[in-house]
């Protein structure tokens, strides 16, 4: 598809004979916000692993910006291309401060010597402050990440993704374990991020998906069952049967 940021076509991945992904096709346009839902075992995590280079598909095509073949690179190369990933369980560096976590994620300087001899610049400091402010952690920027609440850790991790300045963010169940208020603030944050960069949100929480107000892809048994606005897919009898109706 022309102008696509991410293009998956007929992707298949099996583990010990079990097809976790089975002929999956998906197109994400630059700046798009997309929610991916589906029951457990629908292949959501495997899909993210394939996009981020963690696993490689058995069959099918995965293209980034229509030219880079993502099925041939690893997660480090994918990250450097501009694909950021947030884990389901908030994963931040507990023994570093909020600001240090953000600095670590900040775009540029991934090489050994640059890290060993380089110093933080004023612009980096300003960028870190701006992101800390955006994720609501400006006041706790010098606190150890390990002391943050669960919700704050989720935001910090989103902040780290922002610091990476990726073109695509994959966000795995950001609302898990959050209070209702935190959930709504997270939806708002993700909506504000989209537009400038594409965001794929994998989520179980229907209220959260509704709050995102975006196109929804329903996965089932490793392929796309339905795609469209939430009201449209939730009216689909197949979707109701496998997922929503339970």
């Amino acid at each position: 598809m022309s102008g696509s940021l991410l293009y998956l076509s007929g992707v298949t991945k099996s583990f010990d004979g079990f097809a976790a992904i089975n002929g999956l096709s998906l197109v994400i346009m630059p700046g798009e916000l997309r929610a991916v839902i589906g029951p457990n075992g629908a292949g959501k995590t495997t899909m993210m692993d394939i996009i981020t280079g963690k696993t490689h598909p058995d069959r099918g095509q995965v293209f980034w910006k229509e030219k880079v073949d993502l099925s041939r690179i690893d997660e480090v190369a994918a990250a450097r291309l501009g694909i950021g990933r947030k884990f389901q369980k908030p994963t931040v560096i507990d023994s570093l401060t909020v600001a240090e976590n953000l600095e670590l994620a900040l775009k540029g300087q991934r090489g050994l010597t640059a890290r060993l001899f380089g110093r933080s610049s004023r612009t980096m400091h300003a960028d870190i402050m701006q992101i800390a402010d955006r994720i609501g952690l400006a006041a706790s920027r010098n606190d150890l990440a390990g002391t943050l609440s669960h919700g704050q850790k989720q935001w910090l991790e989103i902040g780290m993704l922002l610091a990476q300045d990726p073109d695509l963010m994959l966000v795995d169940e950001p609302a898990a374990g959050m209070t209702d208020e935190e959930t709504m603030r997270t939806a708002e944050l993700l909506r504000s991020i989209a537009g400038h960069r594409a965001v794929i949100v994998v989520e179980h929480d229907m209220d959260f998906v509704r709050a995102l107000g975006c196109k929804v892809t329903v996965l089932h048994q490793g392929r796309v069952l339905a795609e469209g606005p939430l009201d449209f897919v939730s009216a689909n009898p197949e979707v109701i049967e496998v997922y929503l109706g339970r």
Partner: protein, 368 residues
């Protein structure tokens, strides 16, 4: 510079400096030998252990690589130095061969094996002290880290590495003196190894090496690269998804650490007068881990302190109640794990903080 020497480091370095000046002076004849002369070499040995502990803390405390084979790098550095010391003996060996060390004459070897060439020069040996363990660590790490071997699996293969080396070095055909290792050293840099001045020199060199090792380790861990190491320790997967080549970082720090351990071994050998394959034994490597855990992992200073305290206790206890030593070591390890999660250093610092809080409370009470 201020970033490198924090309070903790400052106190430690000052203490080390005082020890380095005071001990040789106290043991000198001029001071009427306030302390016995052997203490200089003994404490010098502890300083080498402390440097070895700092090397391990660099990889384990800051990057989460629990090496159970660091004794191998220490021993390799020791062997490199031992080879130089053997060649320094020259024709003064039992068999009087001008070139071949005694054990080679005994084995009926006609000429020096190729890997012994160059060891008659100090600069070459000094280079090998770091290069041999460094190269081993690089090659080993290259395969292990690239294949993403980590955690307990990595620990096990490092242990296997040192065990394999021990078996290899036990063999006479290897050309490192087999079972007996290398010993009967005479001179270093033309100076008599038994002379008090040489012993003092080696002691001071060990103290300088420890201070240097601490500064290098501190420089690495306080740099922006140090943050990447901590990130790898705390969340390796996360670090990879941030775009860092985790294996490059691990390889770097592992190699630096191995070279540092090699230096420790090289300074150790002339002070104890022997290097043999026993230094490769897995138990030695495990003991290093205990030093670091006891002293306080991830603090550098704590590791040095731990090495010092445990080896001191070992010297005292093995002289006094030898059969109890291993039980005491095990007991210490359990105690620290249960009650002192921050190690000895952590306990001291918490204690000092409490004391200060208590003192300030008292002054306030007095004021009111």
């Amino acid at each position: 510079m201020a970033r490198l020497i924090d309070r903790r480091m400052g106190v430690f370095l000052a203490g080390l400096f005082i020890l380095t000046v005071a001990l040789p002076m106290a043991s000198s004849a001029a001071a009427g030998q306030l302390v016995p002369a052997y203490l200089v070499s003994l404490v010098g040995k502890y300083l080498c252990y402390a440097l070895l502990a700092v090397a391990l803390d660099l990889v384990w405390g800051f990057c989460g690589i629990l090496s159970l084979g660091h004794g191998a790098f220490f021993a390799l550095g020791g062997y490199a130095m031992g080879m130089y010391l053997m060649r320094q003996i020259g024709p003064r060996g039992v068999y009087g061969d001008p070139v071949l060390p005694d054990f080679m004459v005994f084995l009926n070897w006609q000429e020096l094996p190729w890997f012994w060439l160059g060891f008659d020069r100090f600069w070459f040996a000094a280079l090998m002290v770091m290069a041999a363990p460094g190269l081993l660590a690089f090659v080993f790490g290259w395969f292990a880290f690239r294949s993403r071997v980590s955690g307990v699996y990595l620990s096990i293969i490092t242990q296997a590495m040192t065990y394999a080396l021990m078996l290899a070095f036990f063999r006479n055909e290897m050309g490192f003196g087999g079972n007996n290792g290398l010993t009967d050293f005479k001179d270093i840099l033309g100076l008599d190894l038994t002379a008090a001045s040489t012993r003092t020199g080696l002691f001071v060199a060990s103290a300088v090496a420890l201070a240097g090792g601490l500064m290098i380790a501190r420089w690495i861990t306080a740099s922006r690269l140090g943050r990447v190491l901590v990130a790898i320790r705390d969340a390796e997967e996360r670090t990879r998804f941030l775009g860092y080549r985790v294996e490059h970082y691990k390889l770097f720090v592992f190699t630096v650490s191995a070279a540092m351990a090699g230096v420790a071994g090289a300074l150790y050998v002339p002070q104890v007068g022997i290097i043999n394959p026993g230094e490769f034994s897995p138990a030695n490597s495990i003991e290093i881990v205990i030093w670091v855990a006891l002293g306080g992992r991830g603090t550098l200073i704590g590791a040095a302190l731990g090495a010092f305290l445990v080896t001191l206790a070992k010297t005292v206890l093995t002289g006094w109640l030898p059969e109890l030593w291993l039980f005491a070591l095990g007991g210490l390890f359990i105690m620290v794990t249960l009650w002192l999660p921050g190690g000895v250093l952590g306990a001291i610092e918490t204690g000092l903080t409490r004391l200060r809080a208590f003192a300030s409370m008292r002054t306030k009470e007095i004021e009111t």
